[in-house]
């Protein structure tokens, strides 16, 4: 068994990122959109960790960064869900298309 | 003595303060203070003229203080990218300043017709005056632009609030056209500033004719042409030149009388002033090669204005188109590149300022009395209101260029210039002179001697107070017509400088 090459991780991350981006931009369900965003953030985390071990100049900072970004992603998800709950209670929907109170 | 120009430009602030301290209900007080506010600049400009007449050098009045410094380039050159607060005056500006101060006073005097919100009105009027005076004395482009925009804003509100039926529309089109003009102007100014590191007119003239500043990016020959075209285009909108004239007609029809007086008398002249001062002043070489186009445009303007004036039914529109037509004369004069022509153009600037102010003043009174300015609705006013009709006739004669009045001198000189350089063009253009006479007389004679209308039988004629402005204006018109040196002398040095610039 040999080491998995860096490029594999990068491609994985890129694929994850694209899936996330696609989901975030096209899905109508807010929960799925939030999940897609998490996907994108985690893609970045994979990059960080992969670079931190297999990069041109490996260093621990990448892992530290990913720790921080995980935390932040969690906070963001928490806030997002909390806001979604508040909204759901008023509008009874999680569909983005139905959030149309704000139109000119 | 250097403070005098600052006092000249900013003295209307005194009036503004007075007005702000007055309750907005006190109509008569407000009107009085409004008028009083316009007096200090008039006095100062007369003092300046007095100094000038007594032989003092106008250069002594130049004031120059540090104002803005952009960037942090003082290690290269302390003056690089600075804009100074600099005001100066020469014969040309002096004449225009005098005219501005006078016309503003007269306009304030004529503002008795304003019916509401006197406080705001007079405050804006005085701001307008600051702007106009500043425009004619500013020595660098940024300062010029500042004052220029001040006139724009205050005129916008004056038209939009106190005008006639379609005031807001008129104000908007005024704003947009002038906005575009000033945007172009701003770009030109900024390019010059960025490339030359200064906006001072003398310094710019020097840099443009000699070559760029080594420290910054160069100004190529093509760019000089582009800049000049930009300048001309910007001022052409202000002047206005066909086909960018519609806004001006609208403003002349919709604006309140005193504002039209100022607009036709002074604001339009800023375009001409800019073209002469900055176009010819800063880019003399380049100006020579575009002059012919200007002359052509001038002729078109002259004829088009005259033709349009001929077919109008509203006297105000007639006058508006006549202004366009007369502004064509300015272009013709400038385009001729002859000393006589340029002199004619400059004469026209002043002369038309006075004549237009007079005519609009009178038409304003007519409209106030009869509630209309349609030629067909008026008629036979000579019988009921003979004094008014008399002034009107006198004004129209001045406008059509009757010898002995200022209009004649300027048109004569302008065409003289053009005949020297482009005889064919001049020949075509001179048709317009005849047309001017036709449309002017048609309109005025219809109004004064046309079929009498019963409803106007009980009109009251002008009282002596109302005749004062007309009297002053006509006096000046005739004085200039009879004795052109009155104007020619102060203008001479400026003209000489311009002619040296373009190498004639």
């Amino acid at each position: 068994m040999t080491e998995v090459p860096l490029s594999a991780y990068l491609v994985l991350a890129l694929v994850l990122f694209c899936i996330g981006l696609y989901g975030a931009l096209t899905k109508r369900n807010t929960v799925i959109v939030l999940i897609s965003i998490e996907l994108m953030l985690n893609a970045a985390n994979i990059n960080f960790v992969a670079f931190s071990r297999l990069g041109v100049t490996p260093s621990i900072t990448g892992q530290v960064f990913s720790l921080f970004s995980i935390t932040i992603a969690a906070a963001e998800a928490a806030v997002g869900l909390a806001i979604l709950m508040a909204l759901y209670r008023r509008k009874k929907t999680v569909n983005i298309d139905e959030m149309d109170t704000l139109k000119h | 003595m250097t403070f005098l120009l600052s006092v000249l430009v900013f003295s209307p602030i005194l009036g503004i303060l007075l007005l702000l301290l007055t309750s907005k209900q006190h109509e008569s007080n407000l009107k009085m203070f409004g008028f009083i506010g316009t007096v200090p600049p008039l006095l100062v400009s007369l003092i300046l003229y007095q100094y000038y007449a007594s032989g003092a050098s106008l250069a002594d009045f130049t004031i120059k203080n540090n104002w803005i410094r952009f960037g942090n380039l003082s290690q290269y050159d302390a003056k690089l990218f600075t804009v100074d607060y600099e005001l100066a005056i020469d014969g040309f500006s002096l004449v225009l300043v005098l005219m501005t101060a006078l016309l503003t006073s007269l306009a304030a005097f004529a503002s008795h017709s304003i019916k509401k919100e006197w406080k705001g009105y007079f405050v804006l009027l005085l701001f307008l005056e600051i702007g106009m005076l500043g425009v004619f004395t500013a020595q660098n482009l940024v300062l010029f632009f500042l004052f220029f925009e001040l006139t724009l804003i205050s005129a916008f509100f004056l038209v939009g609030k106190w005008g006639f039926a379609e005031k807001e529309k008129a104000a908007y089109s005024f704003l947009l056209y002038n906005g575009i003009g000033s945007a172009i102007l701003l770009i030109v100014i900024m390019i010059l500033f960025a490339r030359a590191g200064t906006t001072n007119i003398q310094a710019l003239t020097h840099i443009i004719t000699i070559g760029g500043v080594p420290t910054i990016a160069p100004i190529s020959a093509t760019m000089k042409y582009a800049l000049l075209v930009g300048l001309v285009a910007a001022f052409a909108i202000k002047l206005p030149i066909f086909p960018m004239h519609r806004w001006m007609v609208m403003v002349h029809v919709e604006a309140p009388t005193p504002i039209v007086m100022l607009h036709a008398g002074v604001l339009l002249k800023i375009g001409a002033y800019g073209m002469i001062r900055f176009g010819m002043g800063i880019f003399p070489e380049q100006f020579k090669s575009v002059a012919i186009y200007l002359a052509v445009l001038g002729v078109i303007n002259f004829l088009y204005g005259a033709f349009m004036a001929f077919i109008q039914t509203d006297f105000k529109r007639v006058l508006a188109y006549s202004s366009i037509s007369h502004m064509g004369v300015v272009l013709i004069g400038l385009g001729s590149l002859q000393a006589a022509g340029v002199q004619g153009a400059v004469f026209q600037v002043v002369s038309h300022g006075l004549i237009a102010a007079l005519l609009f003043y009178l038409v304003g009174i007519i409209q106030e009395k009869t509630d209309t300015s349609l030629i067909s609705d008026l008629g036979g006013l000579a019988k009921t209101v003979p004094r008014l009709s008399g002034w009107l006739l006198a004004g129209s004669f001045a406008s059509l260029g009757l010898p002995g009045m200022s209009g004649f001198v300027s048109e004569f000189l302008a065409f003289l210039g053009l005949f020297k350089s482009e005889p064919w063009l001049a020949a075509i253009g001179s048709i317009g002179i005849v047309m001017t006479a036709v449309y002017m007389l048609r309109a005025v004679l219809d109004i004064t001697f046309g079929k009498e209308k019963e409803k106007y039988e009980h009109l009251t004629d002008l009282n002596w107070l109302q005749q004062i402005p007309a009297g002053i204006l006509l006096l000046l018109i005739v004085s200039i017509g009879v004795y052109p040196s009155l104007l020619g002398e102060p203008l001479q040095r400026t003209l000489d400088a311009i002619m040296i610039g373009i190498g004639r």
Binding site: A44, T57, E76 | F70, A217
Partner: protein
């Protein structure tokens, strides 16, 4: 690391942050443990005191040299000081605004949070300005963002507010993810997250593939951050969020958040890419070969912002588009890099001017809309008659936003133009778009002025102006004019205390 090393750190560099942090903690605890009968609005005053103390401490650390602590992750250089000053001043004003914010519904329970979330957001912004490491930069960014998400939805029982917050979270989340992804590449290519270390490695890179990846990372980061400053085509969230969020939050987003967004853009992109090569042979610098794309973004932003603003009837929405447009103007400065000489002072001055004019306008909007929940443009109709002072203040703010000379907005725009033209070849098209869209912006800005001054109102009630707002408006208007007429008060301060941000 022992106690000695720890105490040897230059902790004084972080005092402003510590004060804000302390105030936040204090406010949180007070909000939790104060008995319910004590008005939570008092927290705003404590918060304001905290911000002012922080500002004072910032002034106290102004003279100290560049300090870099915590493994170079926290840098107090001139850039940080300059932008922190803007942030603190802006936040202080927003706090004043928030103190008197009193909507009809949906704010009862959350009043305490309302105040200290501003502080956490401010803290995030401050960290962003002075971080020297991608990690701290990212943390600051998110601290600001997440606080803003909650702030936008702070009116829990108000649908519009909830919806605004939801949209903000989604678009903000996407942008964060994109930025982070770009950052991950930057980290991977350089093996470090320290900006200084990264820039050294990037400077030496000549490999084409690497340069290509640098470009990719650049645009990912830029796109991500474009969301923060609401530049097109990533502006979609701004109108909805601005409209739905409470007014002080809208003001905060458009002033503090935007300032921070530009600070981080400058911080990351400039410190990393300023010396990167644009191609393998080193003929161009990175910015030279890529400025066209940024310019494109800037152009689109200006056009979209100004054109779409034309048809807005809701004031907050209109200001959203206006703020998009202003982001576009600032991107022009970024695309042109301020012609090398004017980059930082342009940004700083523009943001300073924007702070005052925008906050002045928002304060008036808040007062006028009161607790009616109506934010239509017709709320301002005839304000001049109801409350001349507010109308004039609003008018001046609007004029400044439109970039009329005599106001700070003009000087700011002039700086951008200077930068656009001071290089060769100049950014003529971009500048022309900027000038053109400025004229377009006149239409809606003057539309507001028309409502303010030219129309008369149906509503006759005089808006009640709290003392805090009065001070705020007065300061904003005063500063807008002061920096318009004497910009060197600010510019000299900038140059004197921050130099050219050479230690950036």
């Amino acid at each position: 690391m022992d106690l000695q090393t720890m105490l040897n750190y230059h902790w004084e560099a972080m005092i402003p942050e510590f004060i804000i942090l302390g105030t936040t903690v204090l406010l949180t605890l007070l909000d939790l443990f104060w008995p319910p009968y004590i008005k939570r609005r008092r927290l705003a005053w404590i918060g304001l005191i905290g911000i002012l103390l922080s500002l004072l401490s910032l002034l106290a650390v102004l003279p100290i040299e560049v300090v870099s602590i915590l493994d170079d992750s926290f840098r107090l250089d001139s850039f940080a000081k300059a932008f922190k000053m803007l942030l603190l001043v802006g936040a202080a004003f927003v706090m004043l605004l928030a103190e008197s914010y009193e909507p009809k519904e949906g704010m009862k329970e959350q009043r305490g949070e309302f105040y200290y979330l501003f502080l956490t957001a401010l803290l995030g912004a401050m960290i962003m300005t002075s971080s020297g490491d991608l990690i701290t930069l990212f943390i600051g960014l998110e601290l600001l963002s997440i606080s803003s998400y909650i702030l936008a939805g702070i009116r829990k029982h108000h649908t519009a507010s909830n919806e605004a917050a939801m949209k903000y979270v989604i678009s903000g989340g996407i942008s964060t993810a994109i930025t982070l992804f770009g950052m991950s590449y930057l980290y991977g290519l350089t093996g470090s997250t320290n900006l200084k270390a990264m820039s050294i490695i990037m400077k030496e890179t000549v490999d084409t593939q690497f340069l290509y990846l640098f470009g990719l990372a650049f645009f990912m980061v830029l796109v991500g951050l474009s969301f923060k400053i609401a530049s097109a085509p990533f502006h979609m969230w701004a109108p909805d969020v601005y409209q739905g969020a409470p007014i002080p939050v809208t003001a905060f987003l458009s002033v503090v958040s935007k300032t921070a967004g530009f600070a981080i853009i400058l911080r990351i992109l400039l410190s990393l890419y300023r010396e990167v090569w644009g191609d393998a042979v080193g003929a161009f610098s990175f910015f030279e070969s890529n400025s066209i794309y940024i310019a494109f973004l800037a152009g689109i932003t200006m056009i979209i912002g100004n054109v779409v603003a034309l048809r807005q009837r809701n004031l907050k929405r209109l200001f959203a588009y206006s703020s998009i447009a202003h982001a576009g103007y600032l991107l022009v400065a970024f695309a042109t890099l301020g012609g090398q000489y004017f980059l930082f002072d342009t940004f700083w001055f523009y943001l300073l001017a924007y702070l005052f004019m925008n906050l002045g306008a928002f304060a008036v909007i808040q007062v006028v809309s009161g607790n009616t929940e109506q934010e239509g443009i017709d709320m301002l109709t005839g304000l001049y008659q109801r409350s001349p002072w507010l109308a004039v203040a609003m008018g001046i703010s609007i004029l400044s936003l439109a970039g009329i000379p005599g106001t700070a907005g003009f000087i700011a725009k002039v700086s951008i133009f200077l930068g656009a033209f001071a290089v060769d070849p100049g950014f003529y098209v971009l500048a022309a778009i900027m000038a053109g869209t400025t004229v377009i912006s006149y239409i809606y800005y003057f539309g507001i002025l028309v409502q303010l001054f030219l129309r008369s109102s149906i509503i006759q009630t005089k808006p009640k102006v709290p003392a805090g707002i009065n001070i705020l408006v007065a300061v904003c208007v005063l500063m807008t004019i002061l920096f318009g007429l004497a910009p060197n008060i600010a510019l000299d301060f900038f140059h004197q205390h921050f130099g050219d941000l050479l230690d950036f």
